[in-house]
């Protein structure tokens, strides 16, 4: 490795030089507001440490790329150790930076090993692809955890809040998965239907005193009819053009809510929305006239967590309904037509499928679930305003579907945990958490370009042992 080593060093040195040049003004200087103007300070130590880390990181990467696994691992581990060590670096960010660089080198080194292992294990002896088996057990395991979780001591207020938030996005992801994953229609305005559902509940409950459970189906229907409304004009469009129009639709709904003050109370939003009740019992410390609280009904002391746990089970149930519905409908003609439409619209027409109706049903059904989720959101927050329904929400939901692997139900769960959960857990990272978030997204797209779970589960499973009419005929 003698002459090669020189080459690696040169390459790493060049990389470090470029990094130093790029970062010189960005990292090297820092401006301060001193009241009557700006002054600046030098941060050349930070810059130096970062450049050294980049030098060794690059060295480790090129060693790993050429198969020098052990030197690369040592380098990666050393960087990681420095990042994690109590040695005082000038900032926490530098600790993270150096540590992550080490992690990256280690990951890059063991990536081929992991790949080889996966390839060997891809088929278990019975011929069932291991990925499918894992996905199945993962699903059952996650469900069990989800059901039991609120009863464990883990379920403090912070965790439950986050769990409810994640489940809301799981449900939205599953709903959008019908439109994007199954039917292949790129919808960038999904949040519009979420908003319709939320405002349906907010208005019907505050203006007409209707309960959560009676509004829920109405909100779904309202959102579904908005889905049809959007569907009609965009049927002829495909791909990018469809995405642009749906994007516009999402914004139109938000702007209407913002400006139609008589209906929606505009930017001030709608407050004091009643929460959902359980057989008429409210989740609050004191019940309003003529009803009782949950704690009174059960004869237990009141705790603020009861409300959260109740909300948690509602959204869990709603999400499971969405999932169950999707799994079923995939086996029905309309669901199969959605998938076929995603694959090849021309072929669909040649088989007698009416593409117009098929797309409309996909839009309407997807919108309906967003409507359910929306009224849940309004009931949980007790206050909604147009600010909750911006484009970034649509983008996050779409990112969940795409990262999860289009059409994969379990992938949506993993992606929702990753996208919603991680930024919350990483709050300690402060301003850098969005950088970590972006990095995670980029890494997923590099290593799993078709999503976390790219495998498409067939809608029919044939068991050759039990059902092989043709072969048997030949033998008999």
């Amino acid at each position: 490795m003698g002459p090669r080593l020189q080459h690696y060093l040169k390459d790493a040195g060049l990389t470090a030089l470029v990094a130093a040049g790029l970062a010189f003004f960005i990292v090297g200087f820092r401006t301060y507001d001193i009241g009557k103007g700006l002054t600046f300070d030098y941060q050349f130590v930070d810059l130096g440490i970062a450049v050294v880390a980049i030098f060794f990181g690059r060295l480790g990467l090129s060693l790993a790329a050429d198969g020098h696994d052990w030197p690369a691992l040592v380098l990666g581990a050393a960087l990681g150790a420095v990042g994690a060590s109590p040695i005082k670096l000038p900032s926490t960010f530098l600790h993270w930076f150096v540590g992550l660089a080490g992690l990256l080198v280690v990951l890059r080194t063991i990536w081929p090993w992991a790949n080889r292992g996966l390839a060997a294990a891809r088929h278990s002896p019975r011929g069932v692809p291991v990925g499918q088996a894992i996905a199945k057990w993962l699903g059952a395991g996650l469900l069990a955890v989800a059901v039991v979780m609120p009863m464990t001591p883990l379920a403090d207020q912070k965790t439950m809040d986050l769990a409810v938030l994640i489940l809301t996005y799981v449900m939205l992801g599953w709903g959008l998965n019908i439109v994007v994953g199954l039917a292949g229609l790129l919808d960038l305005g999904y949040v519009a239907f979420y908003a319709v559902g939320a405002y349906s509940y907010a208005l019907l409950s505050t203006q007409f005193g209707m309960s959560f459970w009676s509004v829920l189906p109405l909100a779904g229907m309202m959102a579904a009819s908005f889905g049809l409304l959007l569907g009609f004009p965009v049927l002829r469009l495909r791909g990018d053009y469809l995405a642009i129009v749906t994007l516009g639709f999402g914004e139109i709904i938000r702007l209407v809510l913002l400006n139609w003050v008589d209906l929606s109370n505009g930017p001030a939003g709608i407050g004091s929305i009643p929460g959902p009740t359980l057989f008429g019992a409210v989740f609050a410390e004191t019940a309003p006239e003529g009803s009782q609280t949950f704690a009174e009904m059960m004869g237990i002391p009141f705790s603020g967590n009861q409300r959260l746990i109740f909300l948690y089970y509602i959204i869990l149930a709603l999400a499971l309904v969405t999932n169950f519905f999707t799994q079923r409908i995939r086996r029905l003609p309309v669901g199969r037509a959605w998938e076929a439409l995603r694959e090849d619209e021309t072929a669909c027409k040649a088989l007698g499928i009416n593409p117009t109706n098929t797309k409309l049903t996909a839009f309407a059904v997807g919108a309906m679930f967003a409507g359910f989720a929306g009224s849940f959101f309004a009931a949980k927050q007790r206050f909604i305003s147009p600010e909750s329904f911006t484009f970034i929400e649509s983008a996050i939901i779409l990112a969940i579907v795409v990262l999860g692997g289009m059409g994969s139900q379990i992938g949506v769960v993993l992606a929702a945990v990753l996208l919603i959960g991680l930024p919350e857990w990483f709050r300690d990272l402060g301003a850098y958490r969005m950088v970590a978030f972006g990095l995670a997204m980029v890494l997923i797209m590099v290593f799993r370009p078709r999503g976390l779970i790219a495998h498409r589960e067939p809608s029919v499973r044939l068991h050759p042992a039990r059902r092989a009419p043709v072969h048997r005929k030949g033998l008999a």
Partner: protein
């Protein structure tokens, strides 16, 4: 069965078909041959309603279908094996066949799929495999099988031999012959492989620059010196 009268089709300002007349009687195998760009596929697609004929009429079993959308034409007993096969690559063979039966009565699904598997045993072997992983010949078999699942009375095939090895081409044409004989399906076949198509067909039409240049029985056309020099010599077998 099928009457095409004076059909003219345009792509924007460009006229692809100049008043084509053509008949397919019930139970026949009729082929349409011609060079690249002669308008063969355009005619087949016009029969399916996309693009629409600008003038002229198309009648199926006496009823005018000129202005119907594609999916409604299919509901009237026409199945199409599109050019380039267009199977659903991410779906299994079985699911592809299910898609073919999506407009059919589910009562005879099991019987129909067994018929298809009997005709193409290769599909039975690969029924759980994804469509996109099949070989070209198998994909063509799947496309034909999928079209049959809707129990059509008229089957339209667009260049089923395209890009296939000679041995596979022969198998495909044999299968088409069996479909016509055993399933009593009327067949309209668009082909560049004039030799195989004319040998199989009862009658044939030759399309040149969007006009029917010649027509006759398969045997007559095979023997026609003009056809021989333009489409057969130096080509096949």
């Amino acid at each position: 069965m099928l009457e095409v009268r004076e059909v003219a089709t345009f792509y924007g300002a460009i006229q692809a078909l100049h008043g084509v007349d053509l008949d397919v009687a019930a139970g026949e195998i009729v082929t349409l041959i011609g060079a690249n760009g002669a308008g063969k596929s355009t005619l087949l697609m016009t029969i399916c309603g996309s693009p629409r004929a600008r003038t002229g009429s198309i009648r199926l079993e006496g009823q005018d279908i000129t202005h119907l959308p594609t999916h409604e034409i299919v509901l009237r007993g026409v199945a199409q094996v599109p050019e380039g096969r267009r199977i659903f690559p991410r779906m299994s063979v079985y699911e592809n066949l299910q898609m073919g039966a999506i407009v059919a009565d589910p009562a005879h699904f099991q019987k129909d799929i067994e018929r298809v598997f009997e005709m193409f045993p290769r599909l039975a072997e690969r029924r759980e495999q994804r469509g996109g992983t099949l070989s070209g010949g198998e994909q063509q078999m799947l496309a034909i099988g999928r079209a049959l699942m809707s129990r059509p009375r008229l089957l339209l095939l667009d260049e089923p031999s395209l890009g296939l090895a000679p041995l596979i081409v022969r198998q495909i044409f044999e299968a088409i012959g069996r479909i016509a004989r055993e399933e009593k399906v009327t067949i309209f076949l668009v082909e560049q492989n004039a030799y195989h198509a004319l040998r199989l067909a009862d009658r044939g039409y030759v399309l040149v620059n969007g006009r029917v240049r010649l027509s006759g029985t398969g045997r007559e056309l095979l023997a026609n010196p003009e056809i021989r020099s333009a489409y057969l010599e130096g080509g096949h077998e």
